[in-house]
């Protein structure tokens, strides 16, 4: 038996290199999001090029893992999906490759250059934006009484809406919302948050509901808590809420007020061999063209990052509902919004994180 197994292993080893087609490892977030990428990008790309794509759902720890891989000289990832803030960090540390948008990305069908088509969303030299998503609140329609919440400050109003709330276990977004509901004008939020007094003020406001908060750390937590009725309202990514409401038919509705826009996109790790780099660039060129970005919106309610993709957004591939009204960027939903402030959080993240964690433990 033992010899048979060894023989089997050896045969596999000898046969494998010849039979194996080209492979690439693409790292993403998992869940419905990876599924939308599979349908919109991976499947058509594999059909076109014959490359086998392997998914690794490790985006949550992408920065740490890329650092370790780089140190060990063993980068196994070819293309990595990260949020813009992580892309900026990776780019600064030299762990991601710089991309020239105009020569290495596809132009729009009407000839507009890629750098113009993406516009302001190219927040880093290494980052190829893919989608605009937002962090916003969903609430249980059957648990909020007769008047549904309409503003962000209803989250802090435990008298009108008793029950637990789910908030993300990190200061980003929570601090902004707290200040906004503590009477700070929207334009002053980051000026106030830059001062220690402002940070204390935000934490004090969060302190008023601390006993009613369930802190989440994975995007799937809030949908589960809402479906269980454990929380009355909770923040999460808008695409997750779309799945809860439209696909799972749960009694949940969106509170778009003060949603925070953020970007998600690709980076290519630095230090790939020439062959793998060429492969990764070829994939990126294909997966971020106008049609592909618009296709992704058929599977998940995140807005495509290219201006030229917006008019092509159609109906959901399986549910057949119009996707435009579910996009965070739809004018009805985007009446009061924030854009994730990359510079502010790059400068203050460590300090405020420490303060927030200390406050949580109190």
């Amino acid at each position: 038996m033992k010899t048979k197994l060894t023989a089997l292993a050896v045969t596999t080893a000898l046969v494998a290199p010849a039979a194996m087609a080209q492979e690439m490892t693409i790292v993403s977030w998992g869940g419905a999001y990876s599924k939308s990428q599979l349908k919109a990008y991976h499947e058509p790309y594999s059909a076109k090029s014959g490359v086998t794509i392997i998914n690794d759902d490790s985006s949550a720890e992408a920065v740490a893992k890329l650092r370790a891989m780089n140190e060990a000289g063993n980068v196994t990832w070819d293309v990595v999906d990260v949020v813009a803030a992580d892309a900026i960090r990776l780019c600064d540390e030299g762990l991601a490759m710089e991309i020239d948008a105009d020569t290495q990305l596809a132009a729009a069908p009407d000839g507009t250059s890629a750098s113009e088509d993406f516009g302001d969303l190219l927040v880093s030299d290494c980052f190829i934006p893919q989608i605009v998503y937002s962090t916003t609140f969903g609430y249980r329609t059957d648990l909020v009484g007769d008047t549904a919440p309409t503003t962000i400050c209803d989250v802090f109003d435990t008298d009108a809406y008793p029950g637990k709330r789910a908030l993300e276990k990190r200061p980003i977004n929570n601090m902004e919302w707290a200040l906004l509901c503590d009477g700070v004008a929207k334009s002053d939020v980051y000026d106030v948050l830059a001062t220690p007094e402002g940070q204390d003020k935000a934490l004090a406001k969060l302190g008023t509901i601390k006993d009613d908060v369930i802190w989440w750390s994975a995007g799937a937590d809030t949908p589960q808590l809402l479906a269980d009725g454990e929380v009355v309202m909770g923040s999460t990514y808008n695409g997750r809420l779309f799945a809860v409401i439209e696909e799972q038919k749960q009694p949940v509705a969106m509170l778009w007020d003060a949603q925070v826009f953020d970007l998600d996109g690709w980076i290519i790790p630095a230090g790939l061999s020439d062959e793998r780099k060429a492969q990764a660039l070829d994939y990126i060129m294909f997966a971020t063209d106008t049609q592909r970005l618009a296709d992704q919106a058929k599977y998940i309610s995140y807005g495509p990052a290219r201006a030229s993709s917006a008019p092509l957004v159609g109906k959901h591939a399986e549910l057949g509902i119009d996707m435009a009204p579910h996009m965070p960027t739809d004018p009805n939903n985007a009446q009061n919004t924030f854009l994730y402030n990359y510079e502010f959080w790059a400068d203050y993240r460590d300090d405020i994180d420490a303060k927030f964690q200390a406050w949580l433990a109190k």
Partner: protein
């Protein structure tokens, strides 16, 4: 079993408080889930006492009392919470009636030795209740998972349809997802490749090491033993970090210098890392078996002209086989359940089942994980049952009585 002790009716001062305590205990659960634990305890205790008093003073007919109680609690359950609650009610009704008579008629003494003091009798049953409670705490989380894996929704939630036992609330779609989803299938396949090979390596090396280390003339054998079983003691995350850097170097060398395929090298790295984790289990179980091994047998074999290899396979191996098998089983389960090391050492092409479950749990709470967990529990039960049956069979064949 025949009755050992003649039984007699017990006084109300014993029966009623004990029945009340049992009723209150069950009432606590019902009450807590409906808002007020205290109220639940009170109502549960009162109903149990009323029931016991009714059987003893009014009905005086055991069978009639039984069916009345079952019907009453079943109806109450149905009225409050539908079919599922009705079933619980029926079971509870049967139990509380049986419990009341068991106490009242003194049946609890029937099967115990006549000379036991009341304290010993009390301890006899307390001990069993404690064991039962431990068993319940161990097994309930696993049992809860099973019905949830048939959930028709994509959440870890008992839906109202499920609680009503409505077929619409149940579905096999998560099992279907497991068997049709590429990610799950690939990780399942990877686990089935990695775990057996790692087990074979750990068992071979671990058995040899254990035999060597049990020879009294090996110098420094305590130190060697300590190093060999260190993977079991060092926190996994620390071994994993070390292994990551070590195997990255090895992998680069194998890919660069030997020119081996990247995917194949990935499997080799994970298999070796898992074999290292499995070796301590084999060493420990085989060493323990060797303690009872009679050394004069090897000398006798040598005396009859067998060389050491023949002696090992014909004499020693069959006798220590139970230790080798259970060590191998531990090594297999270690590799099959392992998530930390494979996250570090492996790349996505070696994604194993626990890795897929780990990311699945974090990124999307999908009941497919529960379906997989249920299947794995089934496989584990089959595996353990098979090994146990084989062991008994071989013992029967060798003329020993099964223990």
């Amino acid at each position: 079993m025949a009755a050992l002790t003649p039984i007699s009716r017990k006084p109300m001062s014993l029966v009623l408080p004990t029945v009340a305590a049992a009723g209150g205990f069950f009432g606590l659960f019902i009450g807590t889930s409906n808002g007020s634990g205290t109220l639940g305890v009170l109502i549960g205790a009162l109903m149990a006492v009323a029931g016991a008093a009714l059987y003893i003073f009014v009905l005086k007919n055991e069978n009639l009392g039984k069916w009345l109680t079952i019907a009453l609690y079943g109806a109450l359950g149905f009225w409050f919470g539908g079919i599922a609650a009705a079933i619980i009610g029926l079971l509870y009704g049967w139990f509380i009636h049986w419990f009341s008579y068991w106490l009242y008629e003194g049946r609890y003494r029937a099967r115990l030795l006549p000379y036991l003091t009341p304290k010993q009798v009390l301890w006899h049953y307390t001990f069993r209740v404690i064991c039962g409670a431990i068993f319940t705490f161990l097994i309930t989380p696993i049992l809860v998972v099973m019905p949830l894996s048939f959930n028709a929704q994509d959440f870890f939630t008992f839906t109202p349809e499920m609680l009503r036992l409505d077929p619409a609330g149940y579905s096999l779609k998560h099992y279907q997802d497991f068997f049709t989803n590429n990610e799950w299938q690939r990780s399942f396949k990877n686990s089935l490749i990695i775990a057996p090979i790692a087990t074979v390596i750990s068992v071979s090396l671990g058995t040899l090491a254990a035999i060597g280390l049990s020879q009294s003339h090996v110098p420094g054998r305590r130190a060697i033993m300590a190093i060999m079983i260190s993977p079991m003691i060092v926190p996994l995350i620390i071994s994993a970090t070390g292994m990551f850097f070590f195997y990255s170097q090895i992998g680069n060398w194998m890919e660069g210098t030997l020119g081996l395929n990247k995917t194949f090298v990935g499997y080799v790295k994970v298999v070796l890392a898992h074999a290292v984790l499995g070796i301590p289990f084999v060493i420990i179980t085989v060493t323990a078996t060797l303690v009872g091994f009679d050394r004069s047998l090897t000398r006798a074999a040598a005396n009859m002209g067998a060389n050491p290899v023949t002696t090992f396979f014909r004499v020693q191996m069959p006798l220590i086989l139970p230790g080798v098998i259970s060590g191998g089983l531990f090594a297999f389960i270690t590799s099959f359940d392992e998530v930390v090391v494979v996250l570090f050492v492996g790349s996505a092409s070696q994604k194993t089942l626990p890795w897929q479950m780990f990311t699945g749990l974090r990124e999307q709470i999908s009941p497919t994980i529960l379906a997989v967990a249920t299947i794995l529990v089934g496989i584990s039960i089959l595996l353990l049952a098979t090994v146990e049956m084989l062991r008994r069979r071989s013992e029967r064949l060798r003329g020993m009585s099964p223990t």
